[in-house]
């Protein structure tokens, strides 16, 4: 895989040298990836959905006021079906489900992106150290990671939140801890495959320092699998957040969160189907978008894997 990347790099830099000398090398690589991604209709579809979700999260306060609409109870209008006034109906406390879903996207995206960033930084560093230095250190780090991998991640997250208490910070902490080992593995594998390659040797031969080699050559070339894993990881983190909130270990009421909204509507399934249906659809569509984007990124970053 990294062979392919270096090849691409060589090709693009060649054309670049003849065209614009000043353009940085790195940009052309990403431009190439973007070019390939643009041709993938499914990935663009995912990107479009994701953009809508991000916009909803950013402008949630303009769409519906938090204090007066999202958390204020209105018992006169409980469990109303979808209508012109309440697009997706109301929940068991008479709150507008559409408004709550819009605000709920904030929690999902926040936990998704932050917890994945934490696990990429921690897991990535551990994996890079293990891969670069090898030997005993590698052994110790990876055996500890094996222990974490031996517990299904949802179980580990449940155990952590149940011990530390259910709130946003602990939730994020639990989700990021439980996915650290997978990033460590991915980064280690990719560092290992790059470490002994000829272009690294070449860089060393012309006198590049270790620091420069790691920063300019190893990290950029091991990023591809991490980006793919990260996109799918955000999807996993959003699912885990919803799942934990569903069993009461995540976001606490009255704050809106998709999984918690589902759990709230569960006992009214018989009379008010919309309370559980719509938040679940929101989760599914967001995850779907991330999966589409993740698959597209994988193909764009490494076209050889594409069937």
């Amino acid at each position: 895989m990294s062979n392919e990347m270096t090849l691409d790099k060589a090709q693009t830099s060649e054309t670049e040298v003849s065209a614009v000398r000043a353009a940085p090398k790195k940009r052309s690589q990403w431009a190439e990836v973007w070019h390939r991604l643009k041709r993938d209709k499914m990935a663009l579809c995912g990107l479009a959905i994701l953009t809508v979700v991000v916009f909803a999260a950013v402008f949630a306060d303009f769409i519906a006021d938090y204090e007066t609409v999202v958390i204020a109870q209105n018992l006169g209008d409980r469990l109303q079906g979808p209508s012109a006034q309440y697009w997706l109906g109301t929940d068991e406390f008479g709150r507008d489900i559409f408004a709550r879903m819009i605000h709920g996207s904030r929690v999902s995206l926040l936990v998704g992106v932050l917890s994945v960033s934490i696990s990429i930084v921690l897991g990535g560093s551990l994996g890079a150290v293990a891969g670069y230095y090898g030997g005993k250190l590698d052994n110790v780090i990876m055996r500890v990671m094996d222990v974490f991998l031996a517990v299904p991640s949802i179980l580990l997250a449940i155990a952590i939140v149940s011990a530390l208490g259910a709130n946003l910070i602990n939730l994020m902490f639990a989700i990021s801890i439980s996915s650290i080992p997978s990033y460590a593995r991915v980064v280690r594998a990719s560092v290992l495959s790059i470490r002994d390659q000829e272009f690294i040797e070449a860089a060393r031969a012309i006198g590049a320092s270790d620091f420069r080699i790691i920063l300019r050559h190893i990290i950029p070339n091991s990023l591809a699998p991490v980006i793919v894993q990260g996109a799918l990881g955000v999807a996993g983190a959003i699912l885990a957040t919803a799942g934990l909130s569903f069993i009461g270990l995540g976001i606490q009421p009255p704050e809106p969160e998709w999984g918690a909204m589902l759990a709230g509507g569960r006992q009214y399934l018989r009379h008010a189907w919309h309370v559980t249906t719509f938040p679940g659809l929101a989760i599914m569509i967001t995850i779907l978008a991330l999966n589409l984007l993740g698959d597209g990124l994988r193909d764009a970053l490494d076209p050889r894997l594409k069937h």
Partner: protein, 308 residues
């Protein structure tokens, strides 16, 4: 081969010790005094202190952990704070329920995933391929607890065909197993397809076709054997995952399994039960993964020879 199995079994010991230490350490952060919890809020301080001493709660962390492991190996996982029952007995009473659900879910996943995956691969880029890939994508994107609720909505609430939860004969197995199996079916479909596509491109398949072997024989006899090797691993991993991670599905269907037992224990702050169930499920998960590794050695002689 025996050497290979033995080696893997030995390697399992430190992993399991690590898992129990990890979970034990996490659970020791649980706020609240177990002794106080058992005796009630109004219990006199000396009585609470005496119970703390008796339960070994005043011992240093490493002692408590050693005690836990020592007892756990002999099958003693402690007593529930809420029911007073032996946690190990309770787990073994409930484990068959979890096992049957995971097994049924896996079977559903294989029955759907393998044929659809083969069909997709042999008709790449056809409408069958695109529609089954879209279905598979939806399958992996769906939160299973939501799928569970939707199935209840359709088949129990609206149509009234199947029970919505609990354990009332075989009919109550259908919805939970379907819920569990859907995600795995999607993963197995994708895996079968990509593995099959890879195998079809190989030279020996071209040779078989060149010899004039019928296409269905090429696919079902020549290609399938090799294509299924990675699929077996995925099936095994999915089974382990369904055993260890069926917590949410069991909750949705009020299924009397180990996962549901754990969630109930968390709600009641019954930490011995939480600890025992998590360690138990993680152990089962590791054992299944180990079996998959060993099975892989049997199925693919190339793996085994690395250890011989």
């Amino acid at each position: 081969m025996h050497k290979f199995i033995f080696k893997r079994l030995i390697l399992l010991v430190p992993v399991l010790l690590g898992v129990s230490l990890l979970v034990f350490a996490i659970m020791s952060f649980t706020p609240g005094d177990p002794a106080q919890l058992i005796l009630g809020e109004n219990a006199p301080a000396p009585a609470v202190e005496a119970l703390r001493e008796e339960m070994g709660l005043n011992d240093p962390f490493i002692m408590r952990y050693a005690n836990f492991v020592g007892n756990a190996v002999t099958g003693d996982m402690g007593r529930s704070y809420t029911t007073g029952r032996e946690v190990a007995t309770e787990i073994f009473d409930r484990f068959p329920n979890t096992l049957i659900l995971a097994a049924l879910g896996t079977i559903i996943a294989i029955v759907i995933g393998v044929p659809v995956g083969i069909l997709s691969a042999t008709r790449q880029y056809s409408w069958i391929d695109s529609s089954s890939m879209i279905m598979a994508l939806l399958g992996v994107s769906m939160p299973n607890f939501w799928l569970g609720l939707m199935l209840i909505l359709v088949f129990s609430v609206t149509l009234g065909w199947l029970p919505s939860g609990g354990f009332m004969g075989w009919s109550s197995l259908i919805l939970p197993a379907l819920t569990l199996g859907t995600g795995s079916a999607a993963i197995i479909t994708r895996m079968t397809r990509s593995s099959m596509l890879e195998v079809i491109r190989q030279d020996y398949i071209r040779t078989a076709r060149a010899k004039g072997v019928a296409e269905n024989v090429v696919i079902n006899k020549h290609a399938l054997k090799n294509a299924l090797i990675p699929v077996i691993t995925v099936v095994g991993l999915q089974f382990g995952y369904l055993l260890g991670g069926a917590v949410l599905t069991e909750t949705v269907y009020s299924w009397p399994g180990v996962g549901r037992m754990m969630v109930d224990a968390i709600r009641q702050k019954d930490s011995p039960t939480v600890l025992a169930t998590v360690v138990f499920l993680a152990t089962t998960f590791s054992l299944v993964n180990l079996s998959v590794d060993i099975l892989y050695g049997f199925v693919d002689p190339r793996i085994k020879s690395q250890y011989a």
